[in-house]
Symmetry: C2
Subunit: 208 residues, 2 copies
Amino acid sequence: MEKADKKADILEAAERLFTELGYEGTSTRQIAKESGANMSMINYYFGSKEGVFMEIMSKRIFGFNEQLLSISQDKLSHMEKLLKVVENYATRILCNPGLHKMMHRELTLSQRPEMFLKVKNSMANNLVVIEKIIDEGIDEGSFRPVDVRMLIATVMGTISNVAISPAKITYGTTLDINIEEDKALIIERLIAHLKDLLTVYLTPNNDK
Amino acid sequence: MEKADKKADILEAAERLFTELGYEGTSTRQIAKESGANMSMINYYFGSKEGVFMEIMSKRIFGFNEQLLSISQDKLSHMEKLLKVVENYATRILCNPGLHKMMHRELTLSQRPEMFLKVKNSMANNLVVIEKIIDEGIDEGSFRPVDVRMLIATVMGTISNVAISPAKITYGTTLDINIEEDKALIIERLIAHLKDLLTVYLTPNNDK
DNA sequence: TACAACTATTCAATCGATTGATTAATTTTG
DNA sequence: CAAAATTAATCAATCGATTGAATAGTTGTA
């Protein structure tokens, strides 16, 4: 027996459409049609089109930070912590690049300030966790002194770039992030690269 | 004497509005109002709203590649070439972060395929130039062997991240890219970081 | 030089279509 | 029956685009 859950259907269709067409580019009629619900159901459940958007983002953002926080409190060296955080972060974003694109789009628009703040705060939280790990590693002497904010921009930027860029640009001619098998390979390759980069860049130079 | 150039006025207003509100979020009526031109002038000069968009992008993209190409043919070491290319690339993007945001937004939407291809090809060109430099450096033995595509994603991603992220997130608590004096400082800091990162990461390890 | 012919630019008005949202009526459910 | 869920129909507002006409500037011709 099919369990009809129009609310979930609407959210699912809306997320897909927002991801593909953007917020402004998606009409409430499209959402209704794709989800098989009547137009009024959108306002009935979510109040407005923006309400649907907020609900999607809230669901996704929630829990993004706990994972990082938990890792940062593990009994690991700073380098191990950092690499583990980066690995989790990369995996999370690359597993749903569409959503990441949508978040980025909304972040670069000063429209919808409520949503802007939500995404911004979510990012800021992740940043603080990583920053603390690196700062401590530097203080401890296990990391070279570097521009921490810029290094974080490098880590996040690399992940974001791989998630956002059209397949053919970033990964050579054969891999395509939209194909499920390739996606795993790309994630693996991205993580290996970031681990190598961070290790080489942060490890203090001994022969000096 | 004021020289009225409606065509230029429309382009100027449209670029500002597209940057602030996004393509879909900007109406032709807004463009007309802000530029002081009649609505039909938009279609008269550019054929359509999308025509305006194309014109803006074409103007900006043009010449982006020549500069890189010229550097890549200079009489410099591969490292010097790479750092110079990165410096130019970063400066170019950071000098007009709004436009870069707009390009990124449109690139993450599969809408407007003509524009998508234009931006994509422009990026691909820049990528090829950088890739060639690094590949040659590796072949020559002056660079460590690395995942070249991923390293380029790192360079471009870092620059993009600094250009796109809200001020308070990326550069600490005081600097703001929207303030002209700070912008120069941020660019300087970004370039210094990338040069340090690339030098440390690509320089072969001698004590092994 | 002078008048006609032509082209480029600008305008107000309006087109049909679509937007997000709301209404009131109906059906389903407990 | 009452509350919740769902529907079709419709709202005013706005969308991008087009119309036909008016104006300004240039060119051709005699």
